[in-house]
């Protein structure tokens, strides 16, 4: 039996449409006559990876989404992209907090058999990136984040995942199944989705479950209130800073620094605990006459 993968997909705002933040308003304005929706970019990558894993191992892909009725379009796209079935947790349309979305997904997946759960790293609307970790926690699954490569392991019960670290460094992990993996959009170039696939919101392969029919999982009922948005604001206009020598230096010292041909760029990489790092940074700045230490 091949790898059985569940892919969590989201019907999300089109990231190409620019938004305008107006100070004091509660929500950004979308600058489009007819702002469109698409399957979340990272989720499309997840679907393609799932399809490839299923093709390699003779497995199956199931797509799942949480949202109001018209969000089924995301599942129609997923079915075109290679999923063999889909589950739609139908909600009433009010925005759901990431924890609640995770809880609903967990309630569905708890009833299913799977080897792997794939999520996009974050959505293009709120971008919290929390649903995946919440879901992994509720299902008690090992989780791997920021994955840019995923392949079958030598053993059927394991996968090899490549994580993207800062500065482009990579980390190779051996992942035991079942597991939850959050993928970055860079994981692959998914195939283009024909526009007509986004015109459908119905397919006989979609199973619909009203969210009210799902029993909450133990520990999934959250007592903590979600943070509430108060207002948005634009960045303050700041004058451009021009790097200049410390004004505490004498005019001669400053002129020498500016005209004296200090053409060598110097830098250093420091490691250590925060206290030690602060000392090393201060010492560097002082040594390069960028910081004048006051006498104590």
């Amino acid at each position: 039996m091949g790898i059985r993968t569940f892919v969590c997909v989201k019907w999300s705002v089109d990231p190409r449409v620019p938004v305008e933040v107006v100070s004091g308003e509660q929500a950004p304005r979308r600058l489009s006559l007819e702002p469109g929706h698409v399957v979340n970019v990272a989720d499309r990558g997840a679907l393609e990876v799932a399809r490839r894993l299923a093709a390699d191992s003779d497995g199956e892909v199931c797509a799942v989404t949480v949202g109001p009725a018209h969000h089924a379009t995301a599942l129609c796209v997923a079915l075109w992209a290679g999923a063999s079935r889909a589950i739609h947790v139908v909600t009433d349309g009010a925005p759901k907090a990431p924890w609640d979305v995770g809880a609903l997904l967990a309630a569905v997946l708890e009833l299913e058999q799977f080897d792997l759960v794939l999520c996009g790293a974050k959505g293009t609307d709120r971008g919290t990136g929390q649903v995946g970790p919440f879901l992994a926690e509720l299902l008690d699954l090992p989780q791997v984040m920021r994955v840019v490569g995923l392949a079958s392991g030598v053993q059927r019960e394991r996968l090899v995942a490549q994580r993207l670290l800062e500065r482009g460094e990579r980390e190779l992990l051996d992942v035991p199944l079942p597991a939850l993996v959050c993928v970055l959009p860079a994981i692959c170039n998914p195939p283009y989705v024909p526009a007509r696939r986004s015109l459908r919101s119905n397919d006989e392969r979609i199973s619909r479950i009203p969210s009210s029919d799902l029993a909450p999982m133990p520990g999934s009922v959250q007592a903590v209130l979600e943070p509430q948005l108060v207002r948005l604001s634009q960045p303050r206009i700041r004058p451009k800073r021009i790097l200049a020598p410390d004004s505490g230096l004498s005019a001669m010292e400053r002129a020498r620094m500016l005209a004296g041909g200090q053409s060598v760029r110097s830098g250093a990489s420091v490691r250590g605990n925060p206290g030690k790092l602060a000392e090393q940074i201060i010492e560097f700045l002082t040594r390069n006459d960028l910081l004048r230490r006051s006498a104590r």
Partner: protein, 665 residues
């Protein structure tokens, strides 16, 4: 003795039966072949529109009988007319002779006698000479001159040889008969008579000629029947398939692509299997005569790119014929190892020159678009195409720029934005190029200045202005086109303009020829037409002499698609001091700029840029500037002048008019 023909003269009675047997065999081979092909054609999708009988007959008359395309290539045209009419006349003459013989046997009435018979002989003799002359011309063209777009395979050689031998043995037969019988009316068969005299001069007696006639008759019979049978296997097949295709082809408006109904429910869109092609398309593959005109006129082929429309047709034909019992599931292979490679598929600029020059009305461009649709439907598009389509879907602009930038620029033009119910006299649709490209912005501002000077105050479409969907459609994304077109039609209907002005021929074509499927019926005018109206009505007064030599570049979507050739020329010719020079390839034969069909946004994988060829052509004329009437042409040509460092300006028509009109400047 009155002139008449003894039908079976010098033919033994068992040889009569040989004629019938071979005729049945040859005719049967043709009928069986056509029957098998027709069974394949009928597996194709039904085309949505039918053609009226009157229109079908008109096309048959002009294309198959008169062969009006002779004017395009005089040599090939005369050659083909000679072969076609020569062979047809001889064939009809043989049938007429047989019918006359059996009519006489049954009724005692004989038509082919006296003056009628003499005329009949003269016509057949001339037909035989015409056939021979045509075949010699064809052989010279194909095997001596060897143009690159003509194949030299054995099939063509065998075809020409069979035709030649049929004509030659027929004339020899006539000469031997005349030598043997020495009738008084021999001069009415001029060629046969010359041969007869030659045989006499060589000392061939009447008895020897009669014996020779018997042998030559068998040779002629076999060769002629082989030629008829060859219709089923050699490229003579087009004698039947081409007229059939002419009767079925071109059922939509020129400039309009086929519509896909209920696209959200369709199992497949485009052609990913052989039977996804329509019946006329499948017939067209077998109707191709392999003349190479499409290849010769294709700008991508001329630029050394991977595309040849002829090879696309032949590749599809090969797949269709090879599919055999695998129909209807046989998949059209378009992978890099397939017969239609992606580089060719995505090199088409949709200029329509291939469809324009095809003598049997095949439309290779529509085949390519259907293949593209199949690729898009399967998600198999190059990344650059995907990006353009996604930008078009998200931002209603192929340029990937924000809608608010577009709206604010349109506002800067100072045109009032039309609101629902306004019903403006003239609505200026700027589309999704003018707001973002500097060259197109300049042309649009210029046009607005001219219109202001002419006291014409159009409204703009405001923030509703955007992509007309043309590029999406030509790239094969039919769903996106229908979505954009549907939204545009709804908004335009809400505004209710009496007339729509556009300076983009692509928008002009979409509104005029393609939006009608959505119930739109707007009066659309291209800015070249409006400028001509203003000039001819005396509203604009071009008084400033320009002193400039200008070549006019015909945009494909204005010229070939919509037949607008005269208006831009008359606009330019009305400007004082402007000398209009025609490009070597102009009007219907205009060389594409290379930007259409989405090619504006794709890299050239192999060969040269098409726009470079056009600029070289213009530079060779020694003109100062190129005038055009399309923002995409302007972008492509201006880019090419910079690349080639050509001393040429590229300007929109409106910019020349503004230069010449004192009051508008």
């Amino acid at each position: 003795m009155q002139p008449l023909r003894e039908t079976w003269w010098n033919v033994l009675s068992w040889e009569h039966w040989l004629v019938y047997a071979l005729a049945c065999f040859a005719g049967g081979a043709v009928v069986c072949r056509i029957g098998r092909l027709a069974r394949v054609w009928r597996r194709g999708a039904r085309p949505p529109d039918g053609l009226s009988a009157a229109e079908a007959l008109r096309r048959l008359w002009s294309n198959a009988v008169l062969q009006v395309w002779i004017a395009d290539d005089i040599y090939a045209g005369i050659m083909h007319l000679a072969i076609f009419w020569g062979f047809l006349t001889l064939f009809a003459g043989t049938i007429a002779n047989s019918l006359d013989h059996y009519t006489y046997l049954l009724t005692g009435f004989k038509l082919l006698k006296g003056g009628i018979y003499l005329g009949y002989k003269l016509v057949l003799d001339m037909a035989g000479l015409a056939l021979l002359a045509g075949v010699i011309m064809a052989a010279h063209r194909r095997y001596v001159r060897r143009p690159p777009y003509l194949g030299t395979g054995w099939r063509f050689g065998v075809t020409l040889a069979l035709l030649f031998m049929t004509g030659l043995t027929g004339l020899l037969l006539e000469g031997l008969r005349l030598r043997a019988t020495l009738p008084d009316w021999g001069v009415w068969s001029p060629a046969g008579n010359v041969l007869s005299l030659l045989l006499g001069a060589l000392g061939v007696s009447s008895a020897s000629a009669e014996a020779g006639h018997r042998g030559m008759w068998l040779v002629h019979l076999v060769v002629a029947m082989a030629t008829v049978a060859g219709i089923s296997t050699l490229n003579l097949l087009h004698m039947i398939t081409s007229p059939l295709h002419v009767l079925q082809s071109g059922q939509g408006r020129k400039g309009e692509l086929s519509w896909v109904d209920r696209i959200d429910e369709a199992a497949r869109v485009g052609a990913s299997r052989v039977t996804d092609l329509t019946q006329p398309q499948m017939l067209s593959l077998d109707a191709c005569t392999e003349c190479g005109r499409c290849e010769n006129s294709c700008p991508a082929f001329q630029a050394g790119q991977a595309l040849s429309p002829k090879q696309v047709v032949l590749a599809l034909r090969s797949q269709q014929r090879a599919a055999g019992s695998e129909l209807p599931d046989a998949v059209l292979r378009t992978a890099s190892d397939g017969l239609v490679c992606p580089a060719a598929l995505w090199a088409c600029t949709t200029c329509r020159s291939c469809a324009e020059v095809c003598p049997v009305l095949i439309d290779p461009m529509s085949l390519i678009i259907d293949l593209r649709r199949g690729e898009v439907d399967g998600g198999r598009v190059p990344s650059t195409v995907a990006r353009v389509l996604e930008d078009c879907a998200g931002l209603r602009s192929v340029w990937g720029q924000a809608e608010n930038d577009r709206a604010s620029w349109i506002e800067e033009l100072g045109l009032p934005a039309a609101k629902p119910g306004d019903r403006p006299e003239l609505l200026y649709l700027l589309g999704d190029t003018a707001p973002y490209d500097l060259q197109a912005q300049s042309a649009a501002r210029t046009l607005v200045k001219i219109l202001n000077a002419a006291h014409v105050r159009p409204s703009s479409f405001g923030s509703a202005d955007g992509s007309d969907g043309d590029f999406a459609r030509r790239l094969g994304e039919e769903g996106l086109f229908q979505a954009l077109a549907g939204a545009n039609v709804r908004r335009l209907r809400d505004v209710g303009p009496k007339r729509i002005l556009t300076h983009c021929p692509h928008t002009f074509n979409s509104l005029r020829n393609e939006y009608g499927r959505l119930g739109a019926s707007f009066e659309v005018v291209h800015h070249s037409q409006l400028l001509l109206e203003l000039l001819e009505n005396g509203v604009l007064h071009p008084t400033r002499a320009l002193s400039v030599r200008v070549a006019y570049h015909d945009p494909c979507y204005l010229g070939r698609y919509n037949g607008v050739y005269e208006e831009p020329r008359r606009v330019l010719q009305s400007l004082p001091g402007l000398e209009l020079v025609e490009m070597p390839r102009h009007r219907e034969h205009s060389l594409c700029c290379g930007g259409g069909g989405g090619m504006m946004f794709l890299d050239v994988a192999q060969g040269r840029r098409i726009s470079d060829l056009r600029i070289e052509e213009a530079a060779a004329l020694g003109v100062d500037a190129i005038a055009t009437a399309c923002p995409y042409c302007a972008i492509m040509l201006k880019d090419a002048t910079a690349t080639l460092a050509a001393p040429l300006q590229v300007k929109d028509l409106a910019e020349f008019v503004l230069d010449a009109c004192q009051e508008a400047r």
